[in-house]
Symmetry: C2
Subunit: 397 residues, 2 copies
């Protein structure tokens, strides 16, 4: 397949399959917001509304409207979700709940900060589409609330006894690397620069471990390995996803050395996380090879694979390293053979180690309208850039 043919495949899957699937099955026309628990055919099997996924779907349709085409249907879809969230999503202090009932009653408390991260992302992107000041206000207020809560994001829900084994977690710094670019136009310039520098430093110097070439999920306050279940934990997909966030930041700053470092870490994480026996990337591993506590460790998840494809393609685009392309072909083949469901549309989310669907769902409590469409969009447009670059180049491919 040529670069152009690959690009077309990702584009068509996005626009003719995945986006129509969510447009058709996901809107709750009675109460607003989205259904995300969709079975193989798109039928709703549960009506709870998980804030991560509600926000991510608002973001997704806003992004498509902003970046792909000014389709009113997409904008309407984003706005109806945002209005539901605006009305029901927050507690009186402006913290975002974890989940709501179908009608919008608060179900699970704001016990973590990621609902807030995806809310800021959603309302920031929707503001770009609408210019509606309510939306920018929600995005900005939420962003500052995240910064305020970032040193103790779980509050009284934290089960760790203070002081015994303090650990820094990778997820928030990683997400901030992406969120700050999403919200760049809404924030003070210096705050943007500081957050970017801090984010890059935390991901690439603190959580990245030079000796192993790996990125840990949890490290000591001094940046060292903690020899505990949490401290030995690797989530290869997390690190692989972060690498394209970093490449985007590095591209913005024209920092070729940082791009190369992120590309090298991508390859290193992928080589480590790849299942030599059955193919695909493991969900969790223990850096010392011990049994991880996560029983789902050997499963193959949709988001891990599509995020890896993005990082490989961006790495190839910006550095030309043929290893990125070779790995892209391997991960692409595995992904397209196992995840998409040509019969009913969209992608399966969860495969067992052998590559068979573990659950028949297209959406649930954690899988919604986000990684697949974002990944297809990112891959499509990156492949287009690769094709354009190679068309200009005298080197045959």
């Amino acid at each position: 397949m040529t670069f152009h043919e690959y690009a077309t495949l990702y584009q068509h899957n996005l626009l003719n399959d995945v986006v129509p699937f969510w447009l058709q099955h996901s809107p709750d026309k009675e109460y607003g917001g989205y259904f995300t628990c969709l079975d193989r055919e798109g039928k709703v099997f549960d009506t709870d509304k998980f804030i991560w996924l509600q926000c991510r779907e608002v973001w997704c349709f806003s992004m498509l409207y902003n970046k792909v085409e000014k389709k009113q249907e997409w904008l309407d879809m984003a706005i109806q979700g945002a209005e539901f969230l605006k009305k029901h999503g927050r507690d009186k202090d402006g913290n975002w709940y974890f989940s709501l009932t179908r009608t919008g009653a608060p179900l699970i408390a704001p016990y973590n900060i990621f609902s807030d991260c995806f809310a800021a992302m959603a309302f920031g992107q929707l503001y770009q589409a609408t210019g509606n000041a309510d939306y920018s206000q929600i995005a900005i207020t939420t962003f500052h609330n995240i910064l305020k809560r970032q040193d103790n994001p779980k509050g009284h829900y934290s089960k760790a006894m203070p002081g015994t084994r303090p650990l820094q977690n990778f997820a928030l710094p990683m997400i901030l690397c992406n969120l700050v670019l999403e919200m760049e136009t809404l924030l003070d310039k210096q705050l943007v620069e500081n957050t970017i520098q801090q984010g890059i430093h935390t991901v690439m110097d603190v959580f990245y471990q030079k000796d192993s070439g790996l990125i840990m999920e949890n490290i000591t306050p001094e940046g060292q390995l903690s020899d505990s279940f949490e401290g030995r934990l690797l989530n290869p997909g997390h690190g692989l996803e972060a690498m394209w966030f970093v490449m985007d930041l590095a591209t913005r700053n024209n920092d070729q050395a940082l791009i190369t470092k992120a590309k090298d870490i991508t390859l290193s994480l992928l080589e480590y996380g790849w299942d030599q026996q059955y193919g695909g990337i493991f969900y969790f591993l223990d850096v010392k090879g011990y049994p991880p506590q996560q029983l789902e460790w050997d499963q193959k998840l949709w988001w891990v694979h599509i995020e890896t494809i993005i990082s490989l393609l961006k790495g190839y685009l910006h550095t030309g390293d043929e290893k990125c392309w070779q790995w892209f072909e391997i991960v692409h083949d595995y992904t397209w053979k196992h995840f998409p469901d040509p019969e009913n549309g969209e992608w399966f989310g969860y495969l067992n180690r052998q590559g068979q669907p573990l659950l028949p769902l297209k959406g649930g409590k954690w899988k919604g309208c986000f990684h697949v469409p974002r990944g297809l969009y990112q891959s499509w447009t990156t492949l287009q850039q690769i094709a354009a670059k190679h068309a200009l180049s005298t080197q045959p491919k």
Copy 2:
């Protein structure tokens, strides 16, 4: 195989394999307490001390001392764990932590009540072995603390917003059915009777659903099905384990009708939970056949299988229902083919759906010295009773 041969198999696995495995690999001779994170060969791979498992190992060696043989080595093993727990296990209000570091520093807060349940069980059993009043005092105080906390066991760690979707959970009533018998001699007679009647009622009338013949994990305050992820959840092993607790209570009260009902539910849960394709009992199912949120739903766990064997054997002993024996042979064959590790001793804990070990561990954060030895003891002695009964009977078997 004859009843007697089966009994001998369970007895020998307990006394010549499983108990020696824990005696050899588990004690922390430097700081006290036990290592439970043991790899395939018994080598320690993590030194954290999980209160559930510390307590359960104290209980196990005390029980063996009380019921099997007055071996000093077993009593010493129990006491050294209990002394570590007595010194480090509780916060200033007497709540039991979830986990400690190797040296005994509190690591994870008392966020659930099951640490306390297993502590009461451990110190109650150890008191029977020693007559040490310190131990009975800890058991009694902890038991009353459980009763005090039972309506809000998670306290401020609960993430559910009050009022939106209140649910009753099966685990605590189920455990109390067992705990109250364990502690019978230490508690006020009327409290014992009330707790037993309440426990039986809750398990057999409230959580048991007549229409389906199943036991739900979570139900509404009115005892109805909640059409939500939590409400649709089935944990067949939980219900199957509870049935032998109920049979023990019914035997104590000489209530044959209750024994028959518990036997019928055992068969009904097992028929529902059995994997027709690969054998073994599923870990989680959704009562409406939807995808469960637990990604480990299709795995085969050691405790589910040994607990089921106990209920089938007790059902057969007390009712003579041949279906119990037929199912026992099926579950026995699956269990002994897949879980025990004759090469290195003890049992694997976690198999994938196909029956292959998912993790090579013999112990970890949740698997310790408890279900296997308790189950082997219960099965061995129940099989002995079955053999004795049949030897007296004129009917050939």
